[in-house]
């Protein structure tokens, strides 16, 4: 009983230490990232802001603004394990989103709370967890491909992904990849397709999948069914929401199945 009372009291005290205007700013800034709300994010971010990304690279405020302007609004970010440490006019906030720890430093700047530094660190899953996640994503890819569903396929690519198929120009960026898939599905009916993962190399917030494929395609303008098989190497990247998306993909063909 005493323990429970103390715990409730401690939580209450911790929450009351965060000034209401800071609490509001913290919530607004997290929502601004999810909603691609550039104006709010800009207002709550100091001009000398630096983001340290999970792979160790950095982004300035200007660079993040470019990314945010190109982003599409997404679902609300799920925040857990939040803790805020107040140090006068400075606050250290840490919290977890799916797959990522985030640390932010807030300072009062001319009456406004702003973030001066943020660091995102991956919550690294074990190899089995990563394999499970990639298997699930790959299964969604296979199903969408077999349905000829370019829109669903595109949910598995990042905006700056690059697809490298043999004897075709590179498909660079989500728009180009979507158009290429749409053209492909307009020309071909996928009679059957399978993609088999052989192994996965985990590299920071990336996972490199090696696999093989086999497919049968029927031209929509007539003609004999086409059979193909080959190999692929796909680089997946863990996203801030914990999902995995393709950033680079290359394949080759064995020159047609028997």
């Amino acid at each position: 009983m005493h323990t429970l009372l103390f715990a409730v009291l401690a939580v209450t005290q911790a929450q009351t230490r965060v000034p209401p205007d800071l609490r509001k700013a913290m919530d607004q800034r997290i929502a601004a990232v999810a909603q691609a709300d550039v104006a709010t994010w800009d207002r709550l971010t100091a001009n000398n802001f630096v983001l340290i990304q999970p792979d160790g690279t950095t982004r300035t405020k200007a660079e993040r603004l470019v990314q945010l302007r190109a982003a599409q609004p997404g679902p609300a970010t799920v925040v857990t394990h939040e803790h805020v440490l107040m140090l006068g006019n400075t606050a250290v906030q840490r919290y977890q989103t799916p797959g990522t720890w985030v640390l932010t430093i807030w300072t009062m700047n001319r009456g406004t709370w702003q973030v001066t530094l943020a660091q995102a660190s991956p919550v690294v899953g074990d190899s089995a967890t990563v394999r499970q996640a990639i298997d699930a994503a790959a299964a969604r890819f296979t199903n969408a491909f077999k349905r000829g569903d370019a829109d669903s396929l595109m949910t598995l690519y990042t905006s700056n992904a690059v697809q490298l198929n043999p004897n075709f120009p590179a498909w660079e960026g989500a728009a180009a990849i979507k158009q290429a898939f749409a053209n492909f599905f307009n020309a071909m009916t996928v009679s059957d397709a399978s993609f088999t993962t052989h192994d996965i190399v985990i590299a920071g917030n990336k996972a490199i999948e090696r696999g093989s494929y086999a497919m049968r395609l029927k031209p929509k303008n007539g003609g004999a069914e086409i059979a193909d098989r080959g190999k692929y190497v796909t680089t997946w990247e863990r996203q801030p929401d914990g999902s995995w998306k393709i950033i680079r993909d290359i394949s080759n063909t064995d020159g047609g199945a028997p």
Binding site: G56, A170, R210, I250
Partner: protein, 156 residues
């Protein structure tokens, strides 16, 4: 197939290495560029042992129309055969992209080359894309995954 193999194994010198501002990422990019330079040079002079020094024990090489090359011993046989068969007087590497992630570096690009058979036959021109995965092993960078595909080669 043989015509594309040597260039595929020579890989790339990244033109734009670092995608971010961290010192460690820049250092890793520079180290991989150096490794690529030395590896490429080993192939140009037909030095099998030097080239194999950049190959990880668990290498997987994925070549169009061939079974996967699994492991360093299989790679050794491949390298010996290729270097005994061809010289590489011309090799260009373009449209290169490099991604640093953890203790791995991913390189993507286009290669184009001329191979000259050592015994007889006309020079062979070939072109394709590659994706190479480098892994830091102790102080060294070695290749753990390599894939190439074909692009239509220009006329000689």
């Amino acid at each position: 197939m043989k015509s594309i193999l040597a260039a595929a194994l020579v890989l790339a010198i990244p033109a734009c290495a670092d995608r971010g501002g961290s010192a460690s990422a820049a250092a890793d990019s520079a180290a991989v560029m150096s490794a690529v330079h030395d590896y490429r040079y080993a192939w140009m002079r037909g030095d099998t042992a030097a080239a194999l020094g950049f190959i990880s024990d668990d290498i997987r090489i994925l070549i169009p129309g061939l079974a996967d090359v699994n492991g360093k011993e299989a790679a050794r046989k491949l390298f010996v055969d290729e270097m005994a068969t061809y010289q590489i007087p011309s090799l260009t590497l373009t449209e290169q992209d490099l991604i640093v992630s953890g203790n791995h570096v991913i390189t993507v690009g286009i290669w184009e080359e001329t191979l000259v058979p050592k015994k007889e036959g006309a020079p062979i021109h070939a072109k394709g894309r590659f994706m190479t995965i480098w892994r830091k092993e102790g102080a060294e960078w070695r290749i753990v995954r390599y894939m190439l595909n074909d692009l239509e080669a220009p006329k000689p």
